[in-house]
């Protein structure tokens, strides 16, 4: 029994040492790492955006870095003439800048561009920089309707040194239909492989999907996180949906209708109350003139 008691005391006395020992060991790895991610997004072959994401890595925990000021330069040249824009990350650590018109010539001058992002320190985020090199590319959407089935043909076209566009013959493209909060795939597959001819064919299996009043739906083709071309997305409107007949609820007598369609009960209620009160006011006016007449009766 005594031995057990001594062993128990030994365990108890050693336990804090172990606990604190672990804490010390952890604190050695506590250095916070600052991470800055740069992404490129081409929207509808018209707008070029540089998207930024700032995070801190504390041990194994990633946290968005809010309020980090980032300057983004074109072609890794950190002179003010090549400044795309500066921005401050939001609560999710995200920010984006658009390539301004003033850099249009520099943008057109080369097939390949490098974006340099330089972030200031914003505790606990430390100053850091990051870059991304992309080659210019664009998407093309075409539709195939052979009477019995419908398909979407997507091409990824890369810019060549001579300024022409050539189809890219590898990679994946996502094809979907824009809905209210996200994109719906056009069929069972979400992603389609570009074949040797430079085309990805997505079969459209969403017959009867609700469209707008004319039956239009919006098709979206997207290249996501491509190492060479970054992110691209293109949309096209096609009349493949089922027209949605919007029931107008503003042409009936409702509280939310226009002024000519007041509900009868409200019209009656307000008119009755207002008229009865103003009838008293009118009666008062009559009494006033009665009193005046009484004065002049003498």
């Amino acid at each position: 029994m005594t031995k057990i008691f001594i062993a128990f005391l030994l365990i108890i006395s050693c336990a804090p040492g172990r606990v604190f020992g672990q804490t010390d060991a952890n604190s050695e790895t506590d250095a916070i790492e600052s991470l800055l991610y740069v992404n490129y997004l081409n929207v509808d072959n018209k707008y070029q955006l540089v998207k930024l994401e700032a995070k801190t890595k504390d041990g194994r925990l990633f946290k968005p870095a809010k309020g980090v000021k980032v300057k983004v330069y074109l072609d890794a040249d950190s002179s003010e003439a090549f400044l795309i824009d500066s921005c401050i990350t939001d609560e999710k650590g995200l920010a984006s800048v658009a390539i301004p018109a003033s850099l249009a010539e520099a943008w057109k001058s080369s097939v390949t561009h490098t974006f340099l992002a330089i972030a200031d320190a914003a505790a606990p985020f430390g100053a850091t920089h990051s870059d991304l090199t992309i080659s210019k590319a664009k998407l093309a959407i075409d539709t195939i309707n052979d009477g019995s089935s419908r398909s979407v043909r997507v091409q990824l076209l890369a810019m060549q040194n001579d300024g022409t566009w050539q189809p890219v013959t590898e990679g994946d493209v996502k094809v979907g239909i824009r809905r209210l909060t996200s994109n719906l795939s056009v069929g069972e597959e979400e992603s389609f492989t570009i074949d040797e001819s430079g085309e990805a064919i997505a079969s459209f299996d969403r017959e009867g999907i609700p469209g707008d009043e004319q039956g239009n739906i919006v098709l979206i083709a997207a290249i996501v996180d491509n190492d060479t071309y970054g992110n691209l997305q293109l949309q096209a409107v096609v009349p493949w949906g089922k027209p949605t007949a919007l029931a107008a609820n503003t042409d009936a007598r409702n509280l939310w209708s226009d002024r000519t369609l007041v509900p009868y009960w409200l019209l009656f209620l307000i008119s009755a109350i207002t008229l009865s009160v103003w009838a008293v006011v009118g009666y008062m006016a009559i009494q006033f003139f009665r009193m005046k007449r009484l004065a002049s009766a003498d």
Binding site: R259, L266, V277, V280, V281, M284, Q287, R290, M291, L294
Partner: protein, 438 residues
């Protein structure tokens, strides 16, 4: 005691007096506030509502707080005049005209401040041209106009016998005032038939003004309660507003009673008894309003729905906590503690409690309007930092203070032109009392 109050003495005691030195300084200060407010309003018309601190989120700032305050204090007209008259409260006489003029001046400036808040005043016509009867804003416009007309009538009809006295006093003079008195009431001859018609008219007005007064406060509360926002989404709002309005109205009356009593030496007419009774009424109304406040805050606090939580926290422990607890303490708890004692119902403590009620009530209206707008259901994002806070610009303060000064200026000028305590009614009352003693 009453025998020394001959009609001549009562008349000479209660006739409006020309401004003394203090009266002139007071009027000049009020005019100065009004002029600064007018200049600020000119700037707002010239440069638009961007001169205010209001932005997309806080689109109702101190203008609407002031509007709610004016609407609230105007309820006093129906409380003292109508309710007391219908209940045949014998000591009401010296208080009726004070409460009626407070009601009229407050409702006039409530209407003005709404037009100020609209930005471009000519757009008020759009309410007439394009107004939707389905909107509580239209109901408010209708009920404010109605209440103003009835309040003016309730001020005018009981004033007729006193106007006759004023005409008699200024008969030999050919001043602007004498002509004005004659224009207002030259037809009043004190004939029994006229008196009978007048009394009947006043009684009917008293009956009518009570539901209209309830309607104006309820509809004003519905401007908020029919809007789905944290802090406004309440079925309690109508009763909450009416109880608060009764309280601030009673507070306003005791403040005015004390000032007129001091300024015009009316101690024999506005007596300690009046303060004692008004003190009791304020305790009752403050307790009632405290009860509605508990109702208003306890139930959402118990549930702490996420959308309500940030709003409630900002009131209880956050940015607005000091103002919130100041308003609760000054408009309800401290006045109750003062007035619940016999000593506390002497004129000066009642006046102090009244001032606290009025000041606390103004901040309470600000707390009803603004913090809610800073806590929308969807988080504020992608907006300038200035959109996330509200602090009124100097133009807003100047216009708000100018409107308060304007309301007090109406009361001051009214007391200069008309007897602030009804002369004819006081003579009749004293006469009746004397005969009872005999």
């Amino acid at each position: 005691m009453d025998s020394i109050f001959t009609p001549q003495k009562i008349t000479s005691d209660l006739l409006p007096q020309p401004f003394g030195r203090r009266g002139k300084i007071w009027t000049a200060i009020l005019c100065a506030f009004c002029l600064v407010g007018l200049f600020a309003y000119y700037r707002q018309l010239r440069y638009g509502l961007s001169v205010t601190g209001m932005r997309d989120y806080v689109s109702w700032g101190i203008y609407i707080s002031n509007f709610v305050f004016f609407v609230a204090i105007s309820l006093v007209g129906s409380l003292i005049t109508a309710v007391f008259r219908l209940l045949n409260v014998s000591w009401r006489t010296p208080l009726t005209r004070i409460s009626e003029i407070i009601a009229v001046s407050a409702i006039v400036f409530a209407a003005i401040i709404i037009v100020v808040d609209m930005g471009r005043p000519e757009r008020f016509m759009y309410l007439v041209i394009y107004g939707r009867l389905q909107s509580p804003i239209m109901w408010d416009v209708i009920v404010i106009c109605t209440y103003l007309v009835i309040s003016l009538m309730l001020l005018y009809f009981p004033l007729l016998p006193d106007i006759k006295i004023m005409i008699g006093q200024t008969k030999s003079k050919k001043t602007f005032l004498s002509r004005y008195y004659r224009w207002l009431g030259n037809f009043w001859k004190d004939k029994p038939a006229q008196v009978r018609i007048n009394n009947k008219a006043i009684t009917l007005l008293c009956i009518t003004i009570i539901p209209v007064a309830f309607a104006i406060h309820t509809v004003t509360s519905w401007l908020f309660a029919t809007t789905y926002r944290p802090g406004w989404d309440s079925t309690n709002f109508g009763a909450y507003f009416i109880s608060g309005a009764f309280l601030v109205g009673a507070g306003g009356v005791v403040v005015a009673m004390y000032i007129f009593r001091k300024a015009y030496s009316l101690e024999a007419y506005i007596t300690n008894k009046h303060f004692e009774r008004m003190g009791r009424i304020i305790v009752l109304l403050a307790a009632l309003y405290l009860y509605f406040n508990l109702n208003e805050f306890i139930t959402p606090t118990f549930k702490m729905k996420k959308s309500e939580a940030s709003h409630l926290n900002s009131l209880f422990v956050g940015d607005y906590a000091i103002m919130f607890w100041f308003a609760i303490l000054t408009s309800m708890i401290i006045p109750i503690l003062i007035l619940v004692t016999h000593w506390g119902r002497k004129p000066l403590p009642v006046f102090i409690a009244g001032v606290m009620v009025v000041i606390g009530a103004w901040f309470k209206r600000y707390l009803i309007v603004t913090p809610t707008l800073l806590h929308p259901f969807l988080p504020m994002s992608n907006v300038d930092e200035s959109y996330k806070h509200y602090w009124p610009s100097w133009e807003e303060w100047a216009i708000a203070m100018g409107s308060l000064a304007g309301a007090m200026l109406i009361i001051t000028l009214f007391a200069r032109i008309f007897p602030i305590v009804p002369i004819a009614e006081t003579i009749a009352e004293r006469h009746e009392k004397l005969h009872k003693h005999d």
